[in-house]
């Protein structure tokens, strides 16, 4: 082992020597400096490895040959080894990234950079408080110098503000140190800890001054204008290093000094948590209003610092897991934030909107996506596991308020990061300038991304639960990324084969409940993928994200533990987000989808946290046995799942997201994806049915939510001109029925629910596939721009016809099965009022379903559609396969319903259906699928024949066989019968359709933006004002913590 003192000796020795050696050339100095940083990295990582292997004990390094407190000593323990390795590693990559930027400033810049990194190492390792002060000063001075590798006045201003602010902070620290020395006679941190300074009144002030200085180094909101300016104003390559390496060191300083303030659970813990929370929420809130990329990164960095401070303050709750949580957050921030800053340095786009240029080079988009998802805490990145562990521990210890704080702050961060990412993926790219790739700049970023994925895998292996997570589907996703250059047919085949094989291997292990959903997810997925053959070219990026969604879906099915479930849930969210944003005008809808999903996921996370209280092992079965706050736990879980099923109030993302998606994506995200929410609701309701607590109020509320969703969804669908949006609203309504049915919590209710689940999957897939295929042919979503397509697309017509019959619930198709069961269940349960609403909603469904046939297929063929062909065969194959499913389910429902009933009987043994052959009996009556179908078919055939006979003499009209009045309307489409078809009806029901909900969410969003816009005015840009903030912060905190009690 190389003693860490050689880090110092090497950096200084080489640094001093470069003064003379530097005459050999600038690049020589640079390479020498890089080699030295490499040596530093080697030393620290060697220690880290020794600790990792496990045969190393923490080692003190004594200087001057005396034991502390006589002399200064350094400590190399596992934490120090990890942090120094990270600092040096980032520093090394940063050195490569900035190599030529430094070069322009002459050889001194290399030396300053090297010494800067060395000082951070010492700051991390030292156990002497004055030594800490000295090396903090070194790092501050070096930073103030390196800020100026960026040209321009902004950097100079930022550097000046930085140095005056840090001077004030270090003055405060110095006063604290000298008083601490005065009272204890030692400068050694361990000695100060033992002296219990804060127990005495006077020592309390010294501790206060030391702690507040350490806190101010963490740039707490709102005394952090200077920090923001540094991140924004200096060269992005260097901002990254300051943002992560300095921040890491500052965190550790706070960690070390917190021991002086008192043991775990002392007052200072609480203050830290409070300041961290204010910073975390405050800076993320202000980030929401930010338009400029660099400044936004600055806000995000400071938010992360606040989070670290908050976590440290919550160490009482986290116990032994503190280090794990910090490690997860820190390592994500280290890699992702650094990479993001460096990416910003390459792309050079100023505003967020200008980042649209990044997708000219898709690989860069991949990098950015990785960073965004890592920062927000999506799997498989370390922050995901850290956040999970944190919430679980907080919930177990009763820190519910802190959970809320952390989740709200994270949500605010998600808002701006996803908005930014949305601009990058889909924003208008009308900018003239481009960005160029230089290898020495891109290589460090790629290394960081690789490290990020690997760190994610490694972090997961460190939790007992994470080790169970199946990474095979994710690996498959990565493979698909790697082969993205292949043509679409090849990738489609590989994707289908992959899913099929996976399904083949896992389905024997599933119980019936899971099998139903797994079949919907995987078989449905394969069927919709078949439609992909209709696409030409490469379809870049489609397959990895589609498979990512399916990986998540199968993940939630296969989950045995809550963590696995949540892991799958988040993967599915990420994948579906990417699928949705692929649509042409999807950017805002994808954003709102993502935000609702993230909020929903946080609700689920909190729900799992509460469910986990008092449990020995967090398997998924704990949902059946929630012991504390069951209403909260189930309520939060249900809210989370309801965001995915787009229940009323949480539905506003759905119409746009589904409507604007690509033709074969709409069925994926509608027919298939929505069922994930249903699966969650089913799991929660199973738990509620088994609970010892009385949870009927929750179920009752859920029932109402379902009924209202059915009503509002269907009313919304009526007034759509866009065929796909119509179907999307219809999905909201149908999901409302499903939620309602499950909320009934009886065997019949659940049978209804499952019938609807299967039905909705079948007909919504058929309808979306068909409409999507038609849209591909005619090039518009608007129904009034279609018409008369029946002749051109008879196969499509038949599919839509069957689909809407099944959907509307009229005999003879399976929709009727559902309706019959539904009314039985409602009557049995006695929820008449809700039942009436649902029935009314069912009536409304006819209004819009009729239009699908009437407007698209009947009427006049449009001029420009004269040459359209039948929809693609690749769409027809899955459509007709699904149609077969509908017919089978309609004529032989008992094939499915009987086993379903048996399965549900596990949970609700009473009052099920009673089967005799194909006759089903409830206590209200009986019904037979085949019988009804046969009867109706006979009636239909008779009616059809009669009609044919009666209209024998009908005269066939050609398309232009009409009389023009000689007037030409301004907007011809307004004369179309389908245009604004239900205008009259609208007058009657508008209060129900006025998007009150949307108005509410708009109001919320405006509120957030305006608050942010108002608060951020404190950052006036005046360095003096920033100093005033710092001093005011100190004073206010003094009065809070110590006040007059002296």
């Amino acid at each position: 082992m190389v003693s860490p003192i050689y880090i110092v000796a090497a950096a200084l020795g080489v640094g001093f020597a470069i003064g003379v050696l530097g005459k050999l050339g600038k690049n020589f100095s640079g390479i020498l400096a890089l080699l030295t940083i490499g040596f530093m990295t080697f030393v620290s990582s060697e220690w880290l490895y020794a600790f990792y292997v496990g045969n190393q004990v923490p080692t003190y390094i004594f200087t001057a040959g005396f034991k502390p407190p006589i002399s200064i000593n350094l400590l190399m323990g596992p934490k120090e080894a990890f942090l120094t390795t990270m600092v040096n590693f980032i520093g090394l990559l940063g050195g490569i990234y900035l190599f030529f930027n430094f070069g322009r400033k002459g050889r001194n810049a290399y030396v300053v950079y090297m010494v800067f990194l060395m000082s951070l190492n010492v700051v991390i390792m030292t156990r002497d408080i004055f030594n800490l002060f000295v090396f903090l000063e070194i790092s501050a001075i070096a930073t103030a110098g390196l800020i100026l590798i960026e040209r321009g006045n902004r950097a100079v201003g930022a550097g000046f503000k930085y140095i005056i602010a840090t001077s004030i902070i270090s003055s405060i620290l110095l006063i604290g140190i000298i008083f601490a020395y005065f009272y204890t006679g030692t400068l050694n941190i361990d000695g100060l800890v033992q002296a219990h300074l804060s127990t005495t009144a006077t020592g309390g002030i010294a501790v206060f001054l030391i702690m507040i200085a350490a806190v101010l180094e963490m740039k707490p909101f709102p005394a952090n204008g200077w920090g923001l300016d540094v991140y924004e104003g200096s060269h992005q390559g260097f901002s990254a290093v300051v943002s992560v390496a300095t921040a890491t060191a500052s965190y550790y300083v706070l960690y070390k000094l917190l021991a002086i303030a008192g043991p775990v659970g002392s007052q200072w813990d609480y203050y830290l948590a409070l300041m961290g929370a204010v910073t975390f929420i405050g800076s993320n809130l202000l980030g929401v209003k930010q338009k400029f990329a660099r400044r936004l990164l600055a806000y995000s960095s400071i938010g992360q610092l606040g989070l670290l401070m908050l976590i440290l303050g919550l160490r009482k709750y986290l116990g032994d897991n503190l280090d794990y949580v910090v490690l997860g957050i820190l390592i994500t921030n280290l890699f992702a934030k650094t990479g993001f800053f460096w990416l910003a340095g390459i792309v050079k786009a100023k505003t967020l909107k200008e980042w649209a240029i990044i997708r000219r080079k898709p690989f860069f988009l991949f990098l950015m996506g990785t960073f965004v998802f890592a920062l927000i805490g999506f799997p498989p990145f370390p922050s995901f596991f850290a956040k999970w562990t944190m919430v679980m521990n907080l919930a177990r210890q009763g820190g519910f308020g802190w959970i809320a704080v952390i989740l709200i702050g994270s949500f605010l961060e998600a808002i701006y990061l996803f908005r930014w990412f949305g601009y990058a993926v889909k924003g208008e790219d009308t900018y003239k300038y481009d960005f160029n790739i230089r290898w020495h700049k891109i290589t460090p970023i790629v290394i960081l991304v690789a490290a990020l994925y690997y760190a994610g895998y490694l972090t997961s292996q460190y939790t007992e639960l994470g080790r169970m997570i199946d990474f095979i589907p994710l690996f498959f996703v990565l493979v698909l990324f790697a082969i993205d250059f292949l043509p679409v047919a090849v990738k489609n085949t590989i994707a289908i084969l992959g899913m099929g094989t996976y399904f083949y291997f896992i389905y024997p292990d599933l119980d019936n409940l899971r099998l139903i959903f797994e079949v919907i997810f995987m078989v449905g997925g394969i069927l919709t993928l078949i439609a992909g053959y209709a696409y030409k070219g490469k379809r870049s990026g489609f397959y990895p994200v589609a498979i990512l969604m399916y990986a998540g879906l199968t993940g939630i099915i296969q989950a045995h533990t809550t963590l696995e479930f949540f892991f799958g849930w988040e993967l599915m969210t990420a994948g579906s987000y990417f699928l949705i944003i692929r649509g042409k005008r999807s950017m805002p809808h994808a954003l709102s989808y993502m935000l609702f999903s993230v909020a929903g996921a946080y609700a689920i996370l909190a729900g799992f946290g509460i469910a986990n209280i008092g449990q020995a092992f967090p398997s998924l079965d704990i949902m059946n046995n929630i012991q504390y706050f069951p209403n909260w736990a189930y309520g939060l879980l249900l809210i989370g799942f309801l965001t995915k099923t787009a229940s009323v109030g949480l539905h506003i993302w759905l119409p746009g997201a589904h409507g604007e998606a690509e033709s074969d994506v709409s069925p994926m995200v509608s027919a298939i994806l929505l069922k994930a929410g249903v699966f969650g609701i089913v799991l929660a309701l199973i738990g509620m049915s088994k609970s010892d607590f009385d949870l009927s109020a929750l179920a009752y509320t859920l029932g109402w939510i379902g009924a209202l969703t059915a009503l509002f969804g269907n009313i919304g669908a009526v007034f759509q001109e866009d065929a796909k949006r119509l179907l999307a609203y219809s999905s909201i309504g149908q999901l409302g029925y499903i939620v309602f049915a499950f909320a009934i919590m009886t065997q019949l209710g659940w049978l209804t629910g499952f019938t609807y689940v299967i039905n909705h999957f079948l007909y919504k897939a058929v309808l979306f596939l068909t409409v999507g295929a038609i849209v591909l042919r005619v090039g518009t979503h608007n129904m009034y721009e279609m018409g008369g397509l029946i002749k051109k697309m008879p196969w499509a017509f038949f599919a839509v016809l069957i689909g809407i019959i099944a959907l509307s619930g009229v005999p003879p198709l399976s929709g009727f099965t559902g309706k019959w069961l539904f009314y039985n269940a409602i009557i049995e349960k006695g929820w008449y009022f809700q039942g009436v609403i649902a029935m009314f909603a069912g009536g409304i469904a006819f209004l819009y379903l009729y239009r699908l046939i009437q407007t698209i297929f009947l009427g006049q063929l449009k001029d420009n559609h004269r040459n359209v062909k039948e929809i693609s065969i690749w769409f027809l194959i899955p459509i007709y396969t699904l149609l077969t499913g509908i017919l089978v389910f309609s004529y032989e429902p008992q094939w499915v319903l009987k086993p379903l009933g048996n399965m549900i009987a596990q949970y609700f043994p009473n009052n099920g259906l009673h089967w005799e052959g194909s006759y089903a009996y409830s206590h209200l009556g009986y019904w037979t699928g085949a019988g009804v179908a046969a009867t109706v078919s006979v009636v239909f055939v008779i009616a059809f024949i009669l009609l044919k006979i009666m209209t024998r003499k009908a005269h066939k009209l050609e398309q232009f066989d009409i009389v023009f009045s000689g007037e030409r309307p301004e907007r011809p489409e307004t004369t179309h019968i389908a245009y604004n078809m239900y205008a009259g009806f609208y007058k009657a029901v508008w209060p129900l359709t006025v998007p009150l909900v949307e108005r509410f969410w708009t109001w919320m969003s405006d509120l957030v933006h305006e608050t942010a816009g108002f608060v951020r005015r404190i950052y006036s840009g005046n360095g003096q004002a920033y100093m005033l903030h710092i001093i005011l912060y100190i004073i206010i905190l003094y009065f809070i913590t110590i006040g007059g009690n002296i």
């Binding site: 001075i141 923001l228 003096q1024």
Partner: protein, 126 residues
């Protein structure tokens, strides 16, 4: 006359110097004046450190004949606390470094905008 002890007086002086330093930092608009205020703040802190290490009636921490061989003297009772003095040496040098850097910044700032008013340098805000 306990309140007129050297240690107490210089403690008060140091506190007042620090407060004057903060006053200048917060109230002066001119960057040079702000830097001057910083040097006063630094001086105040240095005086504070030394006065905390002062023990009444003792000599400098240099062990010469008068200290070690004095009549009933042992070194422990003869010299003032040497540690704060060592710390102040470091603090002074650090202060000098920071001042030099601040002044270099002041020159850069002046070159950028031909003014030394601190409120003119607010390109970065919000």
């Amino acid at each position: 006359m306990e309140y007129l002890q050297l240690g107490r007086i210089s403690l008060i002086i140091s506190f007042l110097l620090i407060i004057i330093g903060f006053w200048g930092i917060l109230s002066q608009k001119n960057i040079i004046k702000i830097i001057v205020s910083f040097t006063i703040l630094d001086t105040g802190i240095n005086v504070l450190i030394v006065s905390l290490g002062y023990l009444k009636g003792r000599t400098a921490p240099i062990i010469d004949a008068s200290v070690s061989q004095g009549p009933n003297h042992n070194v422990l009772n003869a010299i003032v606390d040497p540690v704060p003095q060592a710390l102040v040496l470091t603090a002074i040098v650090i202060g000098f470094g920071v001042t030099a850097l601040l002044l270099a910044y002041a020159m850069k700032l002046f070159k950028a905008k031909r003014t030394l008013e601190i409120n003119q340098f607010n390109d970065l805000k919000w």
